[in-house]
Structure formats: structure tokens, C-alpha cells
Amino acid sequence: MLKRYSVHLILTLLGGLIVYLAYFEYLGLYFLSVLMFMGVNIILSSSLNLVNGYMGEFSCGHAGFMCVGAYVASVLGVWLFARDRVFGAPLLDPDYALYAFPVIILAGGVAAALAGLLVAFPSYKTRGDYLAIITIAANYIIISAIENMSSIGGSRGLMGMKGVINAMEDTLYLPWMPIWVFLFTIFCVWVIRRYVSSTFGKGVNAISQDEVAAEIMSVNTNKIKTITFMLSSGLAGIGGGLFAYILGYVNPGSFNILKSTEIMVMVYLGGMGSLSGSILAAIFFTILLELLRPLQIIKWIVIPLVLIILMQFRPEGIMGNRELGQIFPRLKKFYRFK
């Protein structure tokens, strides 16, 4: 009984603690935002792991899909619920913002999933290095397209998301952003976990290890690739939407290849094909980034250096293709996570 619900219990306690600390302002705004970025990074790294780790492809354009999600969610939110210079008066009663927010974030995810088709279709015929180049191209296409849309701010970016958050807080005063980030992070990890542990999702693994054998043994590889790319980019879109609302400001420049690299570093740090690795690496990396903040631009020398050292001495990452339960089998007695 305890084993069955221990994960639920821990997550509820953790969520409750964060909300409690945020509500009574025991946690400063800074710490709170670091925590929220941790959640977003968990979403991003675990969703990229789906493609780079589980499917064995090499996507370097993850930030592009994040960008789609961020923009769709922001534009929808601001247009519907906030008073804004660009979009004018809110279209709907701001009281509904609270209920509509998850739908808006999910809509961003759906849009990003559709953008994922940009990579999914070429993946039928190409793979490896060639597909990697296509993902970079997709990243650039998305950013350039948004930079050239002056109606949503172009390269200057888009603001006004704070208005939506204020509308939510007006309806009911709670620290809504931490709550939503927390819930969506759990949602994303949960979806990925269930996908990759099903026989259906193990087709992804089969493609990674031997695509020819997969196709011969009745795995519809094109279908699996489409679903996996769409899921991966869709979850990145959710992450992007949350990212936009946390910052309250988005511009296309922040979703360039550097951001994609950052996500990739987290995946490789955690270990390919290890969901718990991606989560741990995202937490660790977010903290590392904050600790190195005083170094300013030098941190972009230190972090790649960490990557080089990692690849030299532990190329499989922290967890290396295994989950927490496989490394510490005793842990399995205490939890069951599905």
C-alpha cells in the first residue's frame, strides 16, 4: 500500500511545501524562480531525451519547438486575458484566466507538436547526422519566422504575460506559477515514463538499436517516429509556454541554438535513455548555472568544459542508460512509479 502510493505522497508533500513556502513568502522571488526553471528544465531535458536517448536520433533544435510553445501560449494568454498595447483590451473576462491557463499551455504544446512534424517527416528517410542538420534548420526556420512577424513583436519580443498571472491571482490569491510549473513537470515526466515503458513505446528503443529489425518485426517505424517527435516537441512546447510565463517576456533570440545546446548538455549529463538521469541532471545543471552566475560570460567556458570532461571520463552520463531503480534495486521496495 505504502509502496504503491509513496511517489504520490512524496510529490504531494513536495508540492505542498513549495506552495506553502511561496504563499507565506519564506522563499524569495529569486529562489522561487530558480525552482521554477528547474521544473522547466526537467520538462525540456526529459522530452529531448525521448529523441536523443530513447530513439537514438540527434536533435539539436529542441529550443525551436520550445519557442513555438512559448509564443502560442503567450499570444493566446495575452490576447484573451490581458490588457496589452499590441492586442488591446482582453477578449474574455480575466476571471476565466485561471481555468484557461492549463488549456493555453497545452495549446502551445499542441502547436509545438505540429511544428515537430517539420522534423518527423524527413526522419522517415534520413537519420543520424543528416537528420541532425535538419533539426538545426527547423530551429532556424521557427526563429526566423517569428522574428519576421511584426504583429507579435518580431525580434523585439513579446510582453504582457504578467497581466495574465495577475488576473489569475486576482481570482484566487495563490502562487499560481509555481503550482502550474510543478503540475506540468509531473505531467510531462509521467507521460514520457508511461510511453517508454509500454510495449508500444519500446518500439522507440527497437528503432534506436536496429531500425531494419524493427520494421521487419512488424513495428510501424514511421508511425512511431512521428509520435515520438511530436510528443517530444509538444512537451518542449509546454516547457516553452511555462518558461515564457515565468519570465513574463519572450523574444525569439532566447530560443536559438545556444538554448538547444543547453538542453542537450543536460541530457548528456544525465545519461541517454535514462529518465531519472535527465531529471537529476536538470536539477543539478540549473543549480550549477546559478552558482556560476557571478562568472557571467565565463560560465560558457566552464560548462562546455564540464561537457568535454564528462565525455572523456563518463561518456554514458551520470545514470548511463539506467533508471534509479536499476542502480539502487533496494529503492524498488519503497516505490512503484508508473
Binding site: R194, Y195, T199, F200, G203, A206, Q209, M217, S218, T221
Partner: protein, 264 residues
């Protein structure tokens, strides 16, 4: 099986006038074959004769340049490999192609994709259908591993198994899709003589136990002579001989193809 009505039985595999060109090279030329239910037939020929190309055409890797292929009366030339395997064509490979970083159990389970009966949505919400199907798949996979005496390796990774066992697992995986036609591409390659005895026993046992037509490529003549009731010989894509093993053994065209003729 129920008794068939009074019609001509549909051959498990029918190939007519199959030709495959790779650029200027004619790898297979006007190849014909008809395999009935429960036959055990062989395909031999010197290296580069086009044997594996025929198998690749049947399993759908290439679109044939000319000719037709029918599996149980269904033309397959336009179909993707996974659709063809769902029609009941399974195969093994010359160089073993298992999923090496997935457990033996998962190797069998993933091969059930053609009749999974649920998709992404069901796997995400863990619906009743999902749970029922996963249970059935796991049960059937366990049974299959059991009869192949591989159950003790269920959680092992294939790459850690001895070579002969990997061969056996690949055949077990092929059989897990309940094929009507099983293509074995050089199953004895890389096996030592005691493994080969074991393999002959295994193939004979499969042929008796499962309701399956077996078509195999093999270089070990003793394996072919012992197992097959009918052998076809090709060279440079052309069929040069066919018949029962004893006829093949002494067929002049076959001897010439393998050893060359004495005119210099």
C-alpha cells in the same frame, strides 16, 4: 485448421517473374517459386547469387523491378515491411539482428506490434485495454520463451548470450509473430558443428510443432540435404536447378556453379 472448401489451396508464397535490377546489375532475374503449406524448402547458390536479395524482396525491403509476389494470395510488392510481417512473413538475418540493449523478454514483446491493439493514448492513460493486452503479450512471450528453453534468460540482454543462443532467440522472435512463412537466412552461419546439430534438431522441431512454411538459405550443404524436401539453386540471379536434395547433389549445373568447369 478447419477443412478447406473445394477450392485450389492458395500457396503460402507465390513469386512469378521476379526481377530486380540495381543500376546496371541484374541481381535477380525471372525468379519463380511456389511454396505450399508446411513445406521446408531450401535456396542455395554461390556467394553473390542473389539469394538474400530474394529474401529482401519478399520481406519488402526493395520494390521489385518486375514481377509479382503474393503471400497467401495478397500481393505484397507495394507494401511496407511491417505490413508484410503482419501478413505472416517472419525472417531472421545472416548477421543476427536482435535488439541488443533490450531484455530478451522485450525482444519478444516488441515483435507483437502488429497486433498490439492499442496506441499512444492507451499507453498514456493505462486504460483497461492497455493492461489487458500487456498482460496477454507478456504471458504469450513467457510461454514462447519457455518452450524454446530461453526463459532463464528473460531479463538478460541478448548481447550477453552465447552466439548459438542468440540464433535461437532470433528464431524464437521470428516465430512470435505467428508467421505462415518463416525465412531463415543462413541460420547456421558462425555456428560450430555441435551447434549445427542442435540447429537441425530445432528447425525440424519447429517444422513439426508450428504450422509454418520454412524457406531457408544455407551454405552448409549437410544442413540442407538433411532438412529440405526441395531445393532451388540460383547463380547470377538465374535459377539453374531445382529438385530433391539427391538430384541437386549430382546436378552438373550446380557442380559447375560451385566448383567451375574443367575447361580453362
Amino acid at each position: 485448421m478447419q477443412p478447406q472448401p473445394q477450392t485450389e489451396p492458395v500457396p503460402v508464397l507465390e513469386i512469378r517473374g521476379l526481377t530486380q535490377n540495381f543500376g546496371g546489375l541484374r541481381a535477380v532475374s525471372d525468379f519463380n517459386v511456389e511454396l505450399g503449406k508446411n513445406q521446408l524448402t531450401g535456396l542455395i547458390g554461390p556467394n553473390g547469387a542473389g539469394k538474400t536479395t530474394v529474401f529482401n524482396l519478399v520481406s519488402g525491403f526493395y520494390q521489385p523491378s518486375e514481377g509479382m509476389i503474393q503471400v497467401g494470395g495478397v500481393p505484397t510488392a507495394e507494401l511496407k515491411p511491417h505490413k508484410i510481417s503482419a501478413l505472416g512473413v517472419a525472417r531472421t538475418f545472416q548477421n543476427i539482428r536482435l535488439w541488443n540493449d533490450m531484455s530478451v523478454m522485450d525482444n519478444i514483446r516488441v515483435a507483437q506490434h502488429y497486433r498490439l491493439g492499442y496506441g499512444f493514448f492507451h499507453s498514456a492513460v493505462r486504460s483497461k485495454r492497455y493492461r489487458r493486452r500487456e498482460e496477454e503479450i507478456t504471458r504469450e512471450a513467457t510461454e514462447l520463451l519457455d518452450i524454446f528453453e530461453l526463459k532463464k534468460y528473460a531479463d538478460e540482454y541478448p548481447r550477453n548470450l552465447p552466439y548459438g543462443t542468440q540464433r535461437k532467440l532470433e528464431i524464437a522472435r521470428a516465430l512470435s509473430i505467428h508467421p505462415k512463412l518463416l525465412l531463415l537466412d543462413e541460420p547456421a552461419a558462425g555456428l560450430n558443428s555441435s551447434d549445427i546439430r542442435e540447429l537441425i534438431r530445432l528447425i525440424r522441431w519447429i517444422h513439426g510443432q508450428f504450422d509454418v512454411t520454412i524457406w531457408m538459405i544455407e551454405h552448409h550443404m549437410d544442413v540442407m540435404m538433411e532438412l529440405c524436401t526441395h531445393i532451388k539453386v540460383i547463380d547470377f540471379g538465374q535459377t539453374i536447378a531445382e529438385g530433391v536434395p539427391d538430384e541437386i547433389r549430382n546436378h552438373p549445373a550446380v557442380i559447375t556453379a560451385y566448383l567451375g568447369d574443367d575447361k580453362i
